[in-house]
């Protein structure tokens, strides 16, 4: 139901501009300029990266099923689809579910997983330590998260710590639907209790496994959003989202380039230091610009050049690099055009 709704929404917005691969890359959150761009272009930012473990064959199977149920039609080419009237009615129903409004994919991509893991391990830790049990098998097997929880615990220890955590969570979860809160809480582990797996949730609530995945992500996004909005109400939980490593977002190699940029090396010098082609360094810079809104593209594209590129885009009504390049002043490079595109 949820998964179908999301796919229908994607097909509606994208229409025949992208194949099913485009939808796949959007949902798994492919770290490519194209995918982030698509998300913006078709106003599907909320779905970007909400299903990182999705497999291509599963998406294909669901779409084929949608086709059988006559909710979508084949497009003009293989792999392209259109929504049908019946599909639209189906989509309207989905859009009425509270979950639909929860997704903030592009905003929370990457940090949502971190929040989820921290939350689980934190609750398991507090629940055990409260019962004076310090040796338990952590449900989250992640060094960074374990380190974070330990540091957090040291800093926030008090007799009433677990009570405060309880109160904050209780308040936050009350804002969700009953079933949503249940799904979240049933997965939690604690003292002498291990929470349900996703498959167990699926069985218990008679949901397809895809929907359990998507439901969980939606709930997490909504929780994060509410915590952000009402920081003062959630002083403990706010710390779970405040301290996160933003650099996880971009690839490791782009991050290395980023660090060198921060030390004010030029792209040419960075290419030499890192023994990379200049174009690879350019790719990195575009990637950084895409994910880091604060990153200034000014050193690479002056205002005049930027204005020219924007006006060409508006005039040609196209995002195609080649088209833009052909209509610009020849001194403007592809690199500059791509950078400007990240700021649209």
């Amino acid at each position: 139901m949820y998964f179908e709704g999301i796919i229908l929404d994607c097909i509606t917005e994208i229409n025949e501009n992208r194949s099913i691969s485009g939808i796949f890359h959007l949902l798994v959150g492919k770290k490519s300029i194209q995918s982030v761009h698509d998300a913006r272009l078709f106003q599907l930012e909320q779905y970007y990266g909400i299903y990182p473990t999705l497999r291509r064959i599963d998406l294909q199977a669901i779409v084929s099923n949608l086709q059988q149920k006559k909710l979508v039609d084949n497009g003009s080419k293989d792999g392209f689809y259109q929504i049908t009237e019946k599909g639209r009615r189906h989509l309207i129903k989905f859009k009425k579910s509270p979950l639909y409004a929860y997704y903030r994919g592009l905003l929370y991509n990457g940090t949502d997983v971190l929040f989820f893991k921290r939350l689980h391990l934190l609750i398991q830790t507090y629940s055990n330590i409260r019962m004076k049990n310090t040796a338990f098998i952590p449900v989250v097997d992640d060094v960074d998260v374990a380190g974070w929880v330990k540091a957090f615990y040291k800093k926030n220890w008090s007799v009433t710590a677990s009570l405060i955590l309880y109160e904050e969570l209780h308040k936050l979860l009350q804002g969700l639907e009953e079933k949503e809160a249940e799904v979240l809480v049933n997965r939690l582990s604690g003292y002498h209790h291990y929470g349900m797996s996703m498959d167990q949730i699926a069985l218990n609530y008679q949901l397809p496994i895809h929907d359990v995945n998507l439901l969980t992500v939606g709930i997490i996004h909504q929780m994060m959003y509410q915590i952000h909005r009402h920081k003062e109400d959630y002083p403990v939980l706010y710390q779970l989202i405040r301290e996160n490593n933003n650099n996880k977002f971009i690839t490791k190699t782009a991050n290395q380039t980023y660090q060198l940029l921060l030390e004010r090396y030029s792209p040419e010098t960075i290419a030499k230091i890192r023994k990379l082609k200049l174009n690879t360094v350019y790719d990195h810079i575009v990637e950084i610009a895409l994910y880091d809104k604060e990153f200034s593209i000014e050193p690479f594209v002056d205002t005049k050049t930027r204005k020219e590129i924007v006006s060409v885009i508006n005039r040609c009504k196209s995002y195609k690099l080649k088209t833009i390049k052909d209509n610009c002043n020849p001194y403007i490079s592809y690199f500059q055009i791509r950078l400007v595109l990240t700021r649209l």
């Binding site: 689980h120 952590p138 374990a146 009570l163 049933n186 498959d199």
Partner: protein, 514 residues
């Protein structure tokens, strides 16, 4: 000699609370104390760990124990500490930076140090270890060294280098399941040709072995349902495919509302795997449908029933899997559901574990083409790019490493050299395929024997086995009506309101275990 043995028993009693040694323990310990390298093959549940815990108390320096699983390590440390053995620590990736550094700087204060094979590859720990006197280097689950074994871990093959750099301390390699072949592999890989071997019988007298022939999958379901309506005891059901593992678990849940059934396989996310495993340990589950991914490090001693929905591809896997039953020594039952139509399955499985020619060629072409960019690629990207399975990919990686090619310096190799390498890898693969097939045929032959199943199973590994008069195997005849394991009286899972659960976890009195 006499003096030593008297005092050894005293040490045993005063530190571990046992009056006498169990089979093999004392012999192994005495060889260790004499400074020999020892290979100990002891059946599970017979107290392998005493073999190094006791010497660690008597030896002047530090005893290092390499263990493949963090959960195993943590369990052991916890047990030792609660029994008063304080100078023990586990170094693994769960420690944060400060803790690690503290432990590294105080290494000399510990008698027993558990480490994961991965962490031994880290330079920092190594520098500190080198300054210490290592009296004994223990390798637990040593069969992980062997590529022919069913639980091969690449980092275990690097242990010979570790030993060399630590100044070649005496070695104790321990395992519960190692054929002669695997034993040879262990000795060879560790480069200790003079290791003293202590091989003890692996046959488990408290497990009845049965093979039940069925017509088809429906009949398997019937049989399982029948058994599980009679017995509500901790149960494992092994499958060779994830798909049937999931679907049978669901079908059984419908048929047996009184049993709490879940499934477990390697395709699940890690958090879910830990949850399911711990639910079973914690008696929140009765039955687990699983693939061979489940089990290593499972220290649950009251598993009573082990089914094989599909028969495993080799006898070693079978022995290890049934060996999870009855670790407390109480009577347990193993049921292998044999269906003639399953015979093609293992071959497909073996094939899917090894990379095909096309996969290899694609990877090689890619490595060559993208060589200048490879630093920027996460290695696992190649795996997903070509949709190569994890086992296939691991095989390729190990082979590349073995020929000391790392992806970073592949640029330096010309076409010729790469071609030769590709051929070599293909040869290794073909050899492995043949070996696995011969193991499969061995398994098949055992399934069809009309002799005593225990005899045919164990004499492959050891010269002798214990002859049982009663409750031996389905070929000798067993009386199921005499099998009366203690039944668990748990209630089926009750859905619980989230507010109540949250309260229970963080505020209220815990009543989960009642």
């Amino acid at each position: 000699m006499n003096n030593t043995s008297i005092s050894l028993e005293q040490v045993l009693e005063s530190n571990f609370g046992y009056k006498t040694f169990r089979i093999g323990q004392k012999e192994i310990i005495m060889d260790i104390l004499n400074g020999s390298d020892v290979l100990g093959i002891l059946p599970t549940g017979t107290g392998k760990s005493i073999c190094y815990q006791l010497p660690s108390l008597l030896l002047s320096g530090i005893t290092i124990v390499v263990s493949p699983l963090i959960s195993l390590m943590m369990d052991q440390v916890k047990q030792l500490k609660s029994s008063g053995f304080k100078d023990v620590v586990a170094i693994n990736s769960f420690l944060d930076f400060d803790q690690k550094r503290y432990i590294y700087q105080t290494l000399q204060d510990y008698k027993l140090i558990f480490v994961s094979p991965e962490i031994l590859q880290q330079k920092e720990l190594f520098l500190y270890l080198k300054q210490q006197t290592i009296s004994l280097f223990v390798i637990d689950e040593a069969h992980c060294i062997s590529q022919w074994g069913h639980e091969f871990r690449p980092d275990y093959q690097k242990l010979n280098k570790v030993l060399e750099q630590l100044g070649n301390p005496p070695v104790l390699a321990l395992s519960a399941t190692a054929t002669r072949e695997v034993q040879q592999d262990i000795i060879k890989s560790l480069e200790r040709p003079r290791m003293v071997k202590h091989i003890y019988p692996m046959d488990r007298e408290n497990i009845m072995l049965t093979i039940q022939e069925v017509e088809d999958q429906d009949e398997k379901l019937e049989v399982l349902t029948r058994y599980l309506s009679n017995y509500k005891v901790p149960t494992l059901i092994y499958f060779s495919s994830k798909v049937s593992c999931e679907s049978v678990a669901l079908q059984l849940s419908v048929r047996l509302p009184n049993q709490r059934i879940a499934y477990y396989h390697g395709g699940m996310e890690q958090m879910d795997r830990i949850s399911i495993q711990q639910q079973f340990m914690n008696e929140q589950l009765d039955v687990i449908c699983c693939t061979s991914a489940f089990g290593m490090g499972i220290n649950k001693n009251n598993i009573r029933l082990v089914f094989h929905y599909h028969f495993p591809g080799q006898i070693e896997s079978y022995i290890q899997e049934i060996g999870r039953a009855g670790r407390d020594g109480k009577e347990s039952l193993s049921v292998l559901l044999y269906c003639r139509r399953d015979e093609a399955l293992p071959k497909q499985l073996i094939q899917s574990e090894l990379p095909q020619d096309e996969d290899l060629r694609r990877v090689f072409r890619y490595i060559q083409k993208e060589a200048d960019k490879l630093t920027s690629l996460d290695i696992s990207d190649i795996q997903t790019l070509f949709e190569i399975s994890e086992t296939q990919w691991r095989f390729i990686l190990v082979q590349l490493e073995k020929h000391s090619i790392s992806l970073e310096n592949v640029l330096k190799y010309d076409q010729d050299r790469l071609d030769r390498l590709l051929m070599k890898i293909q040869q290794v693969r073909d050899k492995r395929f043949k070996l696995k097939m011969s193991k499969y045929h061995e398994m098949l032959a055992w399934l069809k024997t009309e002799n005593c199943l225990r005899k045919e199973l164990y004499t492959k590994f050891q010269n002798d086995y214990t002859v049982l008069e009663h409750q031996c195997c389905s070929n000798c005849g067993i009386a199921l009506d005499l099998f009366n394991p203690e039944q668990s009286n748990s209630n089926p899972r009750l859905a619980i309101n989230w507010e109540k659960r949250l309260h229970q976890l963080l505020v209220g009195e815990n009543d989960e275990t009642k």
